[in-house]
Symmetry: none
Subunit: 244 residues, 2 copies
């Protein structure tokens, strides 16, 4: 993990307003830690600390131990340069609105240098208008209009995931493969074609059509050098006389 990535994510505070179920607090802490977030603030939680929260946090209890408990959302936002309200529903009269992905990108932009907050509401009634008005942006997770009710910890997971994605500057793909060169590929196709001609499998009327098909198939596979050797070994071995 790069230092810049760590630093941006360390500037993000997750705020849960009036969470009802201790299990959700623990699951939210776990979701945060999987994405490299560590700062948790709880506004008047009904049941915290609790064994259920610790159990559901799995190995993320360090985040629960460091969590701060506040009397008001305003207290929880103290020092934050920007606050994002996360909501299942859009609102008539409120702050600007966007989706989770765009909101995460904006938040990380700011978090490179300044503390920011993501605010989640209660499991049953969400965020009040008063809560939302303390934030600078409202974001929703695009969901099934017939059932948009994400579990609280699941919503934290999606936002935390989007934050990490935004903070990662184009992570490199898995390690580069050693691809077969042009001559190796052509050697393979020639070998295959001659073996197929020998058995009469190639249609003498349209010898090119089958080979074109096979070329297309193996082109999609982007063959590695070693794989070409394996395939040629297979052609040779299959042409051997059957063992009795």
């Amino acid at each position: 993990m790069s230092d810049a990535l760590k630093k941006s994510l360390a500037n993000v505070r997750i705020v849960l307003c009036e969470p009802h179920h201790a299990g959700n607090i623990g699951a939210a802490a776990r979701a945060m830690k999987t994405m490299g977030l560590s700062r948790l603030a709880l506004v008047t939680p009904r049941d915290f600390p609790s064994d259920e929260a610790s159990r559901r946090a799995s190995r993320a209890t360090d985040i629960l131990d460091a969590a701060i408990v506040c009397e008001t959302l305003s207290d929880a936002l103290s020092g934050a340069a920007f606050a994002l309200a996360c909501s299942a529903r859009t609102r008539e009269l409120a702050v600007p609105q966007t989706d989770a992905r765009h909101a995460a990108a904006r938040l990380i932009e700011i978090a490179h240098t300044q503390p920011v907050a993501l605010v989640f509401g209660n499991e049953t009634y969400g965020l009040t208008t008063g809560h939302v008005n303390l934030c600078q942006l409202l974001a929703t997770i695009p969901a099934n209009p017939d059932y948009a009710s994400l579990n609280l910890a699941a919503a934290v997971q999606v936002f935390a995931y989007e934050l990490r994605q935004a903070a990662m500057s184009g992570a490199p793909e898995s390690k580069p493969r050693k691809l077969a060169g042009h001559d190796e590929l052509e050697g393979f196709y020639a070998h295959l074609e001659s073996a197929l001609a020998e058995t009469g499998y190639l249609n003498p009327e349209q010898p090119k059509k089958l080979m074109q098909r096979l070329r297309r198939l193996y082109a999609r596979a982007e063959l590695e050098r070693e794989e070409v050797n394996i395939l040629r070994g297979i052609i040779r071995t299959l042409r051997q006389p059957k063992k009795s």
Copy 2:
């Protein structure tokens, strides 16, 4: 929700292999429904149906009611044109690998016209190599390297979210290819393996390693049904006695 979006998501099957906690099955069903997914398959669940699963599913119990229970992953994949293995860790010798976002885009491309599957492993030990080998692509959720342990239902939520995002933005593939189904692919691998065993080309000490290599190669090619027929024709013809 547009018809095309609905249709793509209806073609997606979520497969949970050997889930241990009933609560996770319920939470996964809820995560699915929030993103418009509906098909759930369970491979030898420890505890299902159960009250705990229904409780955690909230108002997504219709998905639990319609879930199918299978004896093997192969059964659960029957009829799927493409299977994606979701894993917390990358692997040395396996199918091609990518991240959740790219995998979701690819899966939805295919799901416009054909059934696909997303496969999740057990809470403790994840997917076995045998499981992964039955899939065409392996995807990981980019996570904190010091703690990458997403809860099972949280991982389902992230993938379901990415699928919906991909389905909302992606146009259907210009000319969809008719991919070989799970059963056709397994028939091809079995045919190839027996031919190679017959000639002695397979190392009897490590019979699995070569087949794994070949599976990876052909998984990248995303074989069409007709291509599988051609390859099996080639195996048969190469085994014929040489013409004099």
